[in-house]
Symmetry: C2
Subunit: 196 residues, 2 copies
DNA sequence: CTTTACATGTAACTCGTTACATGATTAA
DNA sequence: TTAATCATGTAACGAGTTACATGTAAAG
């Protein structure tokens, strides 16, 4: 049987990006372009998306009546299409939070590569871990800047902000843990260089 | 222009699962079914895959000449198709390790949901975090069992095993960090219940 | 007589990525 | 004149998921 038939009665599937987009639009009305930038600055830490995908999903959401679009002409700039969430969209989001999200499994081929560690590729793996360490440092620095700027005192934050604080805190702790792991890995690997 | 044309000269893309499969087959010849179980027990901690996907990729790998298949009739059980890695496959893997892997971004809608935290859904989010905490505990326990059984003394392990030890170590540290985060989150959330 | 384990697959779909197209304005 | 920023999109594909099909044999 076709999935279209199976899901005919309004059942739903994943659509995590759609929910991330609506989350951003609950804060502020935005165009696709602005959304893409907003993702880079905050929500994208937890759900990455390209502008191409964002435009596609915006259209689908508008078709479903969860978003409303409005064309804004601009002087000296191309016109933009600003989206805002509808009442139906708000209701959908309020319900969505109550659905149990399934655990996301890690997918990282750095670790698959580690399963293939050998004396031939050991120095390359050291270089890869060092590269990742540098990237993690940069990300961590960014997260900590944001926390220092906007989430200094968690107790006094309004509820919604507390949630963002917690998400950010996870990112920071994760980053710190990864840096620590990198250092341990680099030490073990360097002690192995030269010996079988 | 078509991607098929663009990639005509043998350029490659992702295929991370194919590399994970070959990684497992470097250790031991296996059938698709056995591979699926092996993934559940070890490699799948870092790259999850279903049996359906594994069967597909096995065929592609055999078509490319990176794997060899052999039909094994079994008494009292269905016949199985055992795959082994070819010389070409080994070469491919040895080269693959030297390619720089791109960073995998997190995708977890638990954190997207946290962006939507409100007094209405606060108790539900508490329940979700508790659920995740329980799942993380179970996984962590499994990882630690494996480490205790097979990776007691990292210094004396052969190089390949050291890599697996490091991967496992990352999983364990990550799990511990997540448990800690859950506890902090639950505390902050519980202090918020009742107040705006 | 039913469930679990073994064993291999196909069909249909959604999700996400990469390449590419288009066109305006502003700053070096 | 070249590059960067703003702004919106299409085409094609790869990656991954879910449902479903098919069958044997052992264990309860």
């Amino acid at each position: 049987m076709l999935k279209a038939l199976r899901l005919a009665s309004g059942e739903e599937f994943d659509m995590a990006l759609q929910h991330a987009i609506m989350t951003a639009l609950l804060e502020d009305n935005m165009s696709g372009f602005e959304l893409a930038r907003a993702f880079d600055a905050s929500l994208g830490f937890f759900w990455r998306a390209t502008h191409q995908q964002i435009y596609q999903e915006l259209k689908k959401l508008a078709d479903k009546g969860l978003l409303r679009s409005q064309i804004i002409p601009q002087a000296g700039k191309p016109k933009k299409i600003v989206y805002s969430i509808t009442l139906a969209g708000r209701t959908t989001m309020a319900r969505w939070v109550f659905e149990t999200s399934k655990v996301q499994e890690a997918k990282d081929d750095l670790f698959v590569k580690l399963y293939n560690l050998s004396s031939e590729n050991l120095s390359h793996m050291v270089a890869e871990v060092e590269l990742r360490r540098g990237q993690a440092m940069k990300r961590l620095y960014l997260y900590e800047q944001i926390r220092r700027a906007h989430y200094r005192d968690p107790e006094t934050l309004p509820t919604r902000r507390k949630g963002i604080y917690l998400a950010l805190g996870w990112g920071i702790q994760q980053g710190e843990q990864f840096l620590q792991w990198c250092d341990e890995a680099l030490e073990l690997l360097s002690r192995s260089e030269g010996s079988p």
